[in-house]
């Protein structure tokens, strides 16, 4: 332990002993990009990164849309955070070990808000027992209120608070790689598809 | 009588020795704008090859000489972006805190920027009925900012192209890589010979594809390298310094 604290103080004093000139922390207000139709730009950007964006007018329309969504229709094992729109095929509360989710076909989760400039959706594990479901399922569906789309990442961070333990991510499109000769392949380790439903009306 | 503006002509050593016609073209272009040109014979080289190799102590006396020779001129003009950049951007280390030098360094100009920024030349009379490939020599581009580099997000401009474009009959090649380095890079051309030549041939290929008949640049050093490859490969593309074209030289 004494060695560990020695390293700490040595590093801290090393960086403090350097005479680095003072520099002001920049203000983050700026003429950042905005879009006349945020939902349209979000949908277009999401498409460009391999995802699909669908508008639905309400829960009932979402329910119908999910029924006919190919991965859901074909799925044996589905986790749904929106039972009112699609049922789970198992009880997540009963899953003790996240490894047991390896055979999940579809995960349906809520996204808090979306970002128009980059097609990302902010998702947290606040109501997820095992966050791995977002990555281990073969297909992912996110449901985001249509009135919760910000223009850019500055607006996104203005909404976020990190004042306690937690996990959240900006998720933009399905898992992908271009590590073999720069050819884009969808479905690297995580979901092979991402469908985002922009839900009108209720949040 | 209006007193004529007098400029000190700074001719890079390799232009002096190998490409005298470029120096002469520079003189003519300036004189046609009513400028009185003086070439101080005590000049040799700005020291860039030494400094870029890392031999700063060897470069220092050359920088001193340069300053002593050219300090007296209202303006110093040079037909090379790279040598101009050496003085304007890299001499400061040899003159720390020297306000005279600092003031002087702002009076040193590459030929085209002198024409557009100091003399405010809008057009050059003459014709050049050829398809021209303008090679963006790197130091003029990214240190002197004689044009917008492709990396930056800003309004497009190009000082040399503006001047060339006013010549009758001139056409410009559209390149796939608008401002990639030709691979000269001073001693790099020899130290990294394999990469340097590949870079040069790739540029030439891009120009061939775009139909370039005359390859031009603000730096004869880039053109010396590219011309060396063109002649070895027995290609018909010709190289000419921008000053030669502006002076109305024939291909």
């Amino acid at each position: 332990m004494s060695d560990a604290s020695a390293s700490r103080s040595e590093i801290l004093s090393a960086v403090r002993n350097r005479h680095v000139p003072a520099a002001a922390l920049p203000d983050l207000t700026g003429a950042w990009i905005t879009f006349p139709d945020r939902a349209a730009h979000f949908a277009e950007t999401l498409r460009s990164v391999g995802g699909t964006c669908v508008d639905v007018a309400g829960i009932e329309e979402l329910r119908v849309a999910l029924q006919s969504l190919e991965p859901v229709a074909a799925a044996k094992k589905v986790y749904s955070a929106l039972p009112e729109a699609a049922p789970s095929t198992f009880d997540m509360a009963q899953v003790a070990d996240p490894h047991a989710l390896d055979d999940a076909d579809v995960a349906i989760a809520r996204g808090e808000f979306a970002v128009a400039e980059n097609g990302a959706v902010w998702v947290t594990d606040a109501n997820l027992k095992h966050r791995v479901i977002l990555f281990i399922a073969q297909h992912l569906v996110l449901v985001v209120p249509r009135n919760q789309i910000v223009n850019n990442m500055h607006e996104a961070y203005a909404r976020l608070r990190f004042d306690g333990p937690g996990y959240g991510l900006f998720l933009s499109g399905p898992s992908k790689t271009a590590d073999i000769e720069q050819s884009l392949v969808i479905g690297a380790h995580g979901p092979r598809s991402l469908t985002v439903y922009l839900l009108d009306g209720s949040a | 009588m209006i007193e004529r503006m007098q400029v000190g002509l700074f001719i890079p050593c390799y232009i002096d020795q190998f490409y005298p016609q470029v120096g002469l073209a520079t003189v003519e272009v300036l004189e046609r704008q009513g400028v009185e040109v003086d070439f101080p014979a005590a000049q040799t080289c700005c020291g860039q090859p030494l400094a870029n190799t890392g031999c700063l102590e060897d470069a220092r006396p050359l920088a001193r000489n340069f300053f002593n020779i050219f300090q007296k001129y209202e303006y110093v003009v040079c037909p090379s972006g790279s040598c101009t950049a050496m003085v304007r951007h890299h001499y400061e280390q040899f003159f720390p805190g020297d306000h005279d030098f600092e003031e002087f360094s702002h009076r040193v100009f590459e030929l085209c920027e002198f024409l557009t920024d100091v003399l405010h030349v809008e057009r050059i009379d003459g014709k050049f009925p050829h398809r021209v490939g303008l090679h963006q020599s790197c130091h003029g581009l990214r240190e002197l900012r004689l044009a917008k580099s492709s990396e930056l997000v800003a309004e497009s401009f190009n000082k040399a192209q503006k001047l060339l474009g006013s010549l009758e009959g001139i056409e410009f090649s559209e390149l796939t890589r608008s401002d990639e380095c030709c691979g000269f890079g001073g001693t790099f051309a020899v130290a990294e010979e394999a990469v340097s030549c590949m870079m040069g041939r790739d540029r030439i290929f891009d120009h061939e594809r775009a139909g370039t008949q005359v390859l031009t640049a603000l730096d004869m050093s880039c053109l010396m390298h590219l011309d060396g490859l063109l002649r070895r490969d027995k290609k018909t593309m010709r190289v000419m310094h921008v000053a030669e074209i502006l002076a109305g030289r024939e291909v």
Partner: protein, 458 residues
């Protein structure tokens, strides 16, 4: 005497088709980057802001490190400090051993590459699997990554097919990227499920919150740390930024600069361990505080490892990442390398034509080509230049300091050179003339002609 880089580069260039393929593949990434940058009118303001945030952070790095540590501990993480690579590796090993870990999955981390963590853990009988596809490819091939974002960019799909055939039993001769990626998915899924711990790097650590962000496209970092209970995040001390809101600036720049995407697929924000899990954060110096000291090179600590300087570098694209023989290759690597070991990497600042494209492309405004030039002078000052460079330069300086001698030497050369037979002129030592003609020698120099012209006009 060519530098080690020049020798390896010449070997890479010798296979012209492959070198051109490599060049084109990376240029394509540069083009995608341009498209993304051009789509944001505020691009230059973003770069300026990012550089400003980094400058501020570096000016108060000690405070931010302490603040980060305090908040991270409050969130339930354990924070470790490592002065160098050896200490970093020992810390990681001791954490793994105390949890009886035998199998680890690791997402991309240039820091653990820099510390050579994999071979160290393997020597202690811990299996480490790199889960980024590109990293897995080079790991199986027994090579270091050749690019910090695209680790296997030097491999053709046929090469990958061969490696996978050997190790993953894919069909012989199969080279379809889709098929190969699917095979890797199956293979790595097993590794994810079998791992006892996940190691990740850190893209940004936020001082005010004690959290950090990891960016991937594949989802491998998230998958790797959300199955096992133990997550170890390794980061260089320069990864800090003051505020969570600063992430907005950096996440807008990172993926656009790196691969021309609007954002990485996964930008995961970790604040404390997962419920029931354990999170360790290892803060590593390993030479960074030394770089911080130097006025000239401090800005290199701005680097967010996007790789844009590599993609744009005309030398890197044609010489391949391995020609640099350094953990981080390319322009930024040629600055960081000599900072680590000036003697070993003395040649790297010369593997550069000083075109400056890296400086203009860098999202955090590192003045890369100026720093490379400064390194050349520094290497000269430390007496690390080879005589094959210093002697000719001394001779040249001797001549150039004497205008009469310079003029005389020129006159003699112009007389003599045209008389030298071609076979003698284009000799073995004439590196210029191997593939290029020398300039055609004029009869008179400019100064001679000018003098005559002046005399005539008087």
């Amino acid at each position: 005497m060519p530098t080690p880089h020049a020798v390896r580069a010449a070997r890479f260039v010798a296979d012209s088709d492959r070198a051109h393929w490599h060049d084109q593949a990376l240029w394509f990434v540069r083009v995608k980057r341009d498209r993304m940058a051009q789509s944001l009118p505020e691009w230059e303001a973003l770069r300026e802001t990012a550089a400003g945030i980094k400058a501020h952070t570096l000016s108060r790095l000690g405070d931010f490190l302490e603040q980060f540590e305090e908040r991270a501990i409050a969130l339930g993480a354990r924070v470790h400090w490592a002065r160098d690579a050896a200490e970093h590796n020992a810390i990681v090993l001791s954490i793994l051993e105390s949890h009886d870990v035998k199998k680890v999955v690791k997402s991309k981390s240039m820091l653990t590459e820099e510390c050579h963590l994999n071979p160290f853990l393997e020597r202690h009988e811990i299996e480490v699997v790199d889960t980024d596809l590109g990293e897995r490819i080079v790991q199986l091939a027994g090579e270091p990554p050749s690019h910090i974002v695209l680790p296997a960019i030097h491999k053709k799909k046929e090469d990958v097919g061969e490696i996978f055939h050997r190790f993953l039993k894919t069909e012989a001769g199969a080279s379809d990227p889709k098929y190969l990626t699917e095979a890797a998915r199956q293979h790595l899924r097993e590794k994810f499920l079998a791992s006892d711990a996940g190691i990740t790097g850190v893209n940004f650590a936020v001082a005010e919150t004690g959290g950090f962000v990891v960016c991937t496209n594949e989802g491998n970092a998230d998958l790797g740390v959300s199955l096992p209970k133990l997550h170890i995040a390794c980061m260089g001390i320069e990864k800090l930024i003051p505020r969570a809101a600063d992430l907005g600036v950096f996440l807008r720049l990172l993926a656009r600069s790196a691969t021309g995407q609007p954002i990485t697929t996964y930008s995961s924000h970790f604040h404390g361990p997962a419920a029931g899990g354990e999170l360790h954060i290892v803060l590593v110096d390993n030479g960074r505080s030394k770089i911080l000291e130097s006025e000239e090179f401090r800005r290199s600590l701005n680097c967010i490892r996007c790789g844009a300087c590599m993609n744009t570098c005309p030398v890197y694209r044609r010489s391949g990442g391995h020609s640099y023989d350094a953990t981080v290759p390319g322009p930024i690597g040629s600055i960081l390398g000599p900072a680590r070991d000036a003697k070993k990497y003395a040649g790297l600042p010369h593997a550069c034509s000083l075109c400056g494209s890296c400086t203009d492309v860098c999202p955090v405004k590192i003045d890369l080509h100026y720093q490379l030039l400064t390194w050349r002078g520094e290497i000269g000052r430390r007496g690390l230049l080879p005589w094959s460079k210093t002697i000719p330069m001394k001779l040249l300086a001797f001549v150039l300091k004497r205008p009469w001698l310079y003029a005389l030497a020129g006159r003699i050369a112009r007389r003599v050179l045209p008389l030298v037979p071609r076979w003698l002129l284009y000799n073995r030592l004439n590196d210029w003339g191997r593939q290029r003609e020398l300039p055609q020698i004029p009869k008179h120099s400019f100064r001679e002609i000018y003098e005559r012209r002046q005399r005539q006009s008087q």
